[in-house]
Amino acid sequence: MPTSAHSPLFLLYVPFRAFIFALVVMWMTPGAAQAAPAEPLDPAIIARLADSRTEAKLAAIAALGQSANPLASQTLEALLAGVLNVVAPDTVLIDTGAGRGLNVASHTEQIMPPEAQPIMVNNRLRRAIQSALAGSRLFSESVATRLAAARGLQNSTDLEHLPLLEKALKNEAQADVRRALEVAEANLALQSPDADVRRDAAVRLGQTRSAAFRSTLVRIAEPRPDGTYAETDESVRAAAASAVRMIENHQQIVALTGHLYFGLSLGSVLLLAALGLAITFGLMGVINMAHGELLMIGAYTTWLTQTLFRQWFPEWMNWYVVAALPAAFLITACVGMVLERTVIRWLYGRPLETLLATWGISLILMQTVRTLFGAQNVEVSNPVWMSGGFTVLGGLVLTYNRLIIIVFSLFVVALVWVLLNRTRLGLFIRAITQNRRMADCVGVPTGRVDMLAFGLGSGIAGLAGVALSQLGNVGPDLGRAYIVDSFMVVVLGGVGQLAGTVIAAFGLGTINKFIEPYSGAVLAKIMILVLIVLVVQRRPQGLFAPRGRSVE
């Protein structure tokens, strides 16, 4: 078996891997006995099962629940499913299909006789079976079933399960199942009359670092309203208190990691939204208030691509987002270039006028989209490989779509950096930024470069729109929510500074998510805005602007 290849610790801290492993084990070893070899069941129990009285059956079920025999849980499951058949008072068969049955008395397979009668199960029996199964599943042959059963018993308060758990612990070889069993046992052991056992149990529960036991432990450690303690032994109380502290520390780490992840995710969205601005505003000095609407157009392009794929290439549905990227880039870049040629080129050097004109354009674009596609939000779905997520630290779900967008935003940053610093177009753009007239004199086609640069900034807005469509609602007002934030990022990061934009975006996103739990989303946003205003007070050129000597 491949178990020995993995250390127990490894399995514990990577539950995802453990789960996959459990699946593999289930698939590879269907009949391999591991804990206890499959023995025939006690004939006395079988006789009671075959008995027609409910009381007799209940006794049999309870006995099966206490049994460590894997066959016991199999029998109970068959009983619950209604495939347990009585042939004779000493012969009970599990229907395995194709006219054959498994004799639970001899653990052999035989032909199902025609006189076999399935045992009827009423509600009272069903409840008893379920309770008994919880115990007997601990001895199932499948690792995954045992693990699930042990986890299921972790919150049990039924003292009857205690001897079962101890028995299971003795037999269990699988490390993660053992740990789950130990936790379940510790939880029950808290009710033990022996103070040492209780103290030991409290310590073990603390080591799980699971929030599920926090309230139980707090009840032991803290005084009741009348000042007395539920727990009489002081050392147990101290152990419980330290266990609570351990759990709380762990919860804090989980919370911090969560804030960090969502902060980075928000940062990546801000970064994508602000990157285009960093080019049009930072390098070209154009205040493009229609930038938000370019994001919105990118998101709508994603929606259109999705609709097209659903119509014509349903088999490629999973990859429509990939196809939407170039489409969104091209469409928004074209919109941007048309804007540049018709409106913005007349306004270079007059930033306030550009601001007003582009605001007008944003109104027109928004209303156009409303007219074409309606004022309601449209439905954009995640492809399969972007939905779902994985769990870390026992309870924190990191979703794939956010992770992919974080990576994607870094990829776009790299792309922009290469474009600006390693290509001829980038050279021209930087030349015009530094000295437009001189660049013109040495033969840079300034008009065309302006158009292309604006197209590049707009195209990146389109890419950002694709990413946004995977995170939230897509509607005509999509851009409005991001325009103020993305300007804040550019202003804070320092105009014309790609690195500054990156740091400002991730910084703002993370700070926002760290403030949010303490103050609520709205106050967090307000605090961020106030913070930015204060920072810009100190450093009017942004945090990362190069120190220059020019006055204006």
Binding site: W359, G360, L363, Q367, V484, M488, V533
Partner: protein
């Protein structure tokens, strides 16, 4: 010897006699509108409907706000995208007074949004707002103090141009988010509405409406004269110098901080007064007034009318809002196209606005005549 009369230079005439006459005639004509509503029968050809009176009253509030914005943008070159905030703050300050008189006879009754939050008492910042004098003081003080503080820090660190514009936009955006919260204590989403009485008078009666109309007209005319006296003074010339070349002014030895701060605060106060007059006439104030969109619309009023002139913003506010009223009634889905085009076309082809266009046409005519 120097023969230039220095007093004549420093004390220029406020208006030419012709302008005084025009102002007086216009004021009197507009003042007659509520009379035509109150005294004439609806069948009379000169009858003015109550709707038209309240609409023009509303436009005058907008004109006052536009005038305030023009003072900073047209004369000192500071483009504010956050004047909607001052407008709304003035409105909220006055609204607090109106909300304290919600009972049948104007007596105090807890507003619904507070009982909804199960608050037992008014929050501290509602103290004394049942007195009109204190509320009106707040109308001036709240926008004024906020503008002074914000302006002091912004101008001191020499934030100007688009940076200043964007930060003012962020400011009003943040305030809008704050006021949207129910817990802020200003009615959240719905704001203040369903007012009943102002100074003991029924707020919906035609005579109260006429009085509000006249007060607004008076405020607008006084503000126009005040703005004129500011722009015609030496101070006004320093402001224009700031607009045209701030660094050169600094090299000469002026510190622009005080001048900018003065005109910025004055503008915010005027805007707050406009908001305070707007609320009783329209009957509602909500955080939507603080949206960045509203503030930037104010800018287009000024730009359309003609910035750097005092009559321009008044003309612009009336024109754009007249268009808006007509379009949102007749073709609601086309209004945003028109507004958007207005932004683009005015900045591209009418940088001096309507008033500038008229002036240049008049000048060309004069040139032809000469």
């Amino acid at each position: 010897m120097n023969t230039i009369d220095l007093t004549a230079l420093s004390r220029r005439r406020l208006f030419s006699p012709r302008a005084w006459t025009a102002l007086l005639v216009c004021t009197l004509l507009i003042a007659c509108l509520p009379l035509a509503n109150l005294l004439l029968e609806p069948a009379h050809p000169l009858y003015v409907s109550s709707y038209a009176v309240s609409l023009i009253g509303k436009f005058m509030c907008f004109a006052l706000a536009a005038l305030a914005l023009d003072l900073v943008w047209g004369y000192a070159g500071i483009l504010s995208l956050g004047h909607g905030l001052f407008f709304a703050l003035g409105g909220y300050a006055h609204g607090m007074y109106l909300m304290r008189h919600l009972g049948e006879q104007g007596e105090s009754r807890m507003p619904g949004f507070m009982t909804f939050l199960s608050w037992q008492d008014y929050p501290w910042f509602w103290a004394f707002t049942e007195y009109a004098a204190w509320a009106w003081f707040l109308v001036v003080a709240v926008p004024g103090v906020l503008a002074f503080l914000f302006g002091y820090f912004a101008f001191r660190s020499r934030i100007k141009g688009v940076y200043f514009s964007i930060i003012t936009q962020a400011l009003t955006y943040a305030a809008m988010l704050l006021f949207f919260r129910n817990e802020t204590g200003f009615g959240g989403n719905n704001g203040f509405t369903a007012f009943r009485r102002i100074l003991g008078f029924d707020i919906t009666s035609p005579s109260t409406r006429a009085a509000l109309f006249w007060v607004t007209l008076l405020a607008l005319v006084l503000a126009l004269i005040l703005a004129r006296s500011v722009t015609q003074s030496k101070l006004g010339r320093v402001l224009m110098a700031i607009r045209d070349s701030e660094s050169r002014l600094r090299f000469i030895g002026y510190d622009p901080l005080g001048f900018k701060l003065f005109v910025w605060t004055l503008s915010a106060v005027l805007c707050g007064i406009a908001g305070a007059l707007y609320v009783p006439q329209v009957g509602i104030i909500n955080p939507g007034e603080m949206s960045p969109q509203n503030s930037i619309e104010m800018v287009i009023w000024v730009a359309t009318g003609g910035r750097g002139t005092l009559i321009g913003p008044i003309v612009g506010a009336a024109t754009v809002n007249g268009l808006k009223t007509w379009f949102t009634g007749a073709f609601p889905e086309y209004w945003l196209y028109v507004l958007g085009l207005l932004f683009v076309l005015v900045t591209l082809f009418l940088p001096q606005g309507i008033v500038g266009l008229i002036r240049s046409v008049a000048q060309r005519k004069k040139g032809v005549d000469a």
